[in-house]
């Protein structure tokens, strides 16, 4: 497996990789940004600890506001704060923010041009035991359809910090998609993070896997498996979902012919949707979307639930084999 040296990754096969949740990266970054920028305020709807805003609260208690279990209020109060010059970071479970307050986000934050940063935690099947109500699988679709919204989906703790920092530096509404579960930290401080740019992590020619968030690491492991069978799979991390990297997607399509998208999200409206829309216009290619096939999840340990729905390395590798096999037959 050829790791792209420009990405400065740790060895993904090393057993010594540390683990942390991307929500922890979000929380750590918001606390640090709070040190640098006195205009930054944070709000939560009774889940401040769960979205790791306790770091911010400890450092800046006077700049944190708990709205109670009231996500609609969370969004609109944040908009008001932004109109008056503050930069609010709001954090909650994604199923409820942006799940419940989508219209407030649309009207008061996006249409209202408010500089509000939305952290949505507990996304995807990774949530595990809490079950389908809390496994947010539609947030990318909800956020990606809003004019002006920057949608970021980091793949590990360090990238979550960088994504949060980038959201702060980008004027206007932003959504940062985070996980509950701990994910291996395989990027480094040196790994680039540029809004709107895909990170090509693994070079490959036979097929390109484009993943986002918590499916990036299992996609790398899948590529390692496939390599043993002589299949050269590229792995790309598309962390920006609102502004697809058209150039890189076209390059991957032309080089590999087929693209497999992998996401811990419904296959409609999320990463797969973004890639299909982009390639259909820029460089038509075969795209196979992998993710939740328009179903709700279920309870169980996150890793087991993800395995059941094929979002573990084996499931991703199987899908790639299937895809290549199908095309070989036709060829």
């Amino acid at each position: 497996m050829r790791l792209n040296p420009k990405m400065h990754l740790l060895d993904p096969l090393s057993p010594d990789l540390k683990k942390a949740a991307t929500r922890e990266g979000f929380g750590a970054a918001v606390a640090e940004i709070g040190d640098k920028d006195p205009n930054v305020v944070a709000l939560s709807s009774d889940v401040a600890g769960s979205v790791q805003l306790h770091h911010f609260i400890k450092k800046h208690p006077g700049r944190f506001f708990n709205v109670g279990v009231a996500e609609q209020n969370l969004a609109s109060v944040a908009a008001g704060l932004a109109y008056a010059g503050k930069t609010p970071f709001i954090g909650a479970f994604a199923a409820f923010s942006p799940g419940r307050n989508w219209e407030q986000i649309r009207t008061t934050i996006c249409y209202g041009e408010a500089n509000v940063k939305i952290g949505g935690s507990h996304t995807g099947l990774d949530v595990g035991e809490d079950g389908a109500t809390h496994q947010m699988l539609e947030d990318i679709a909800l956020m990606r359809s809003l004019p002006g919204m920057l949608v970021l989906s980091p793949c590990d703790y360090l990238e979550a910090k960088k994504a949060t920092e980038a959201a702060w530096k980008t004027k206007g509404p932003a959504y940062i998609r985070c996980t509950r579960g701990k994910l291996p930290i395989f990027t480094t401080e040196e790994t680039p993070f540029e809004v709107g740019k895909i990170n090509l992590l693994v070079e490959g020619e036979d097929i390109a896997i484009v993943a986002t968030g918590d499916t990036v690491f299992p996609s790398i492991l899948a590529a390692a498996e496939l390599e043993k069978e002589g299949i050269s799979a590229a792995v790309a991390n598309m962390h920006t979902l609102s502004h697809p990297d058209e150039q890189m997607l076209a390059k991957l399509a032309q080089r590999c012919g087929t693209i497999v998208t992998v996401e811990d999200h419904q296959v409609k409206g999320g990463l797969g949707g973004a890639v299909c829309e982009t390639l259909a216009e820029a460089s038509p290619a075969r795209v196979r979307r992998h993710g939740m096939l328009m179903k709700f999840g279920e309870s169980g340990p996150g890793a087991e639930v993800m395995r059941k729905y094929g979002l573990d390395p084996k499931g991703i590798a199987n899908l790639v084999r299937q895809e290549l096999g199908a095309w070989k037959k036709e060829g």
């Binding site: 006077g62 506001f65 009231a70 209020n73 704060l81 503050k86 009207t107």
Partner: protein, 283 residues
């Protein structure tokens, strides 16, 4: 521009009502009853109560007006035009393609307004955010939030009501246009709202009930609000929807339609008569 006498403020309210009728005719759609009912309150807000500078709309120390029931945009546009923000003739472009006078107020099209609105039940929360920022920064400006009674059926309004009390936002005063109508009928038939003042008191607010057409009562309610410390104030203003035009008054059917030319002529004639009565009345 400050108007000192109640008579002048009543005349301004009458002017605003005529402006509302005039801008709704070419628009050929929009809301008539609510804006007419709010004219006295807006006259007091823009010509007596609030500090602002139309030449410098983003003056940092201005008072902020958050219109929550965005469909009442015509009363906001007329008041702001009369206050010097825009030429009154331009309000005749209401709802036309390319006009900054959007069907519902928009910060994007009209940066002079504090918030974009239309979807109900959001303004009070926005006002809370603005008021909280003012408190954090130790500012003396105040936030005025105009709401409708109908939008108190939105749960989000009550989320904001709790928030304002928790954070002791005494720099926030909300006005509820208690006109008892909504699109489908009378509020107490569609979804009874009951005693809103008592509800707000139970939520930790100071609440005042007034006749929303009594200029003196409106002025003193705002004074009382300014003097109330440690909690936000809600003014329940009992108003007559369609106020000033007999054919429109108290008819929910006039919530969301605009008068045609003929109806407008009759309405303007009535409002001109009313103007004469105000002018002739003793101070």
């Amino acid at each position: 521009m400050k108007l000192s006498s109640q008579k002048e403020l009543s005349l301004m309210a009458n002017t605003i009502r005529q402006d509302i009728i005039r801008m709704l005719v070419p628009a050929a759609s929009g809301h008539t009853a609510g804006p007419l009912g709010l004219a006295d309150i807006f006259s007091v807000l823009y010509f007596h109560e609030m500090s602002y500078d139309p030449k410098n709309p983003h003056w940092p120390d201005r008072d902020r007006l958050v219109l929550s029931n965005g469909h009442c945009a015509p009363v906001l546009y007329a008041s702001m035009a009369r206050a010097g923000y825009f030429p009154i003739e331009e309000t005749l472009t209401l709802r036309k393609l390319g006009s900054r006078f959007q069907g519902h107020p928009s910060r994007h099209w009209m940066p002079e307004v504090e918030n974009s609105s239309g979807p109900l039940g959001e303004g009070l929360a926005i006002a809370c955010g603005i008021a909280l920022a003012g408190k954090m920064d130790g500012k003396r400006w105040r936030v005025y939030c105009v709401t409708s009674d109908g939008e108190h059926q939105e749960g989000s309004t009550w989320e904001a009501a709790m928030f304002a009390a928790k954070y002791k936002l005494d720099n926030l005063v909300a006005i509820c246009d208690r006109n008892y109508i909504q699109i489908d009928g009378n509020t107490e038939d569609i979804m009874p709202l009951g005693d809103l003042a008592e509800k707000y008191r139970a939520f930790g607010w100071h609440a005042i009930s007034i006749d929303g057409h009594d200029i003196g009562a409106i002025i003193s309610a705002f004074e009382q609000a300014r003097g109330t410390k440690g909690k936000p104030t809600m003014i329940i203003a009992y108003t007559t929807p369609g106020k000033g035009v007999a054919e429109f008054e108290r008819k929910y059917e006039w919530h969301g339609v605009a008068p045609n030319k003929e109806q407008a002529q009759k309405a303007l004639a009535q409002l001109s008569e009313e103007r004469k009565r105000i002018e002739e009345a003793k101070e």
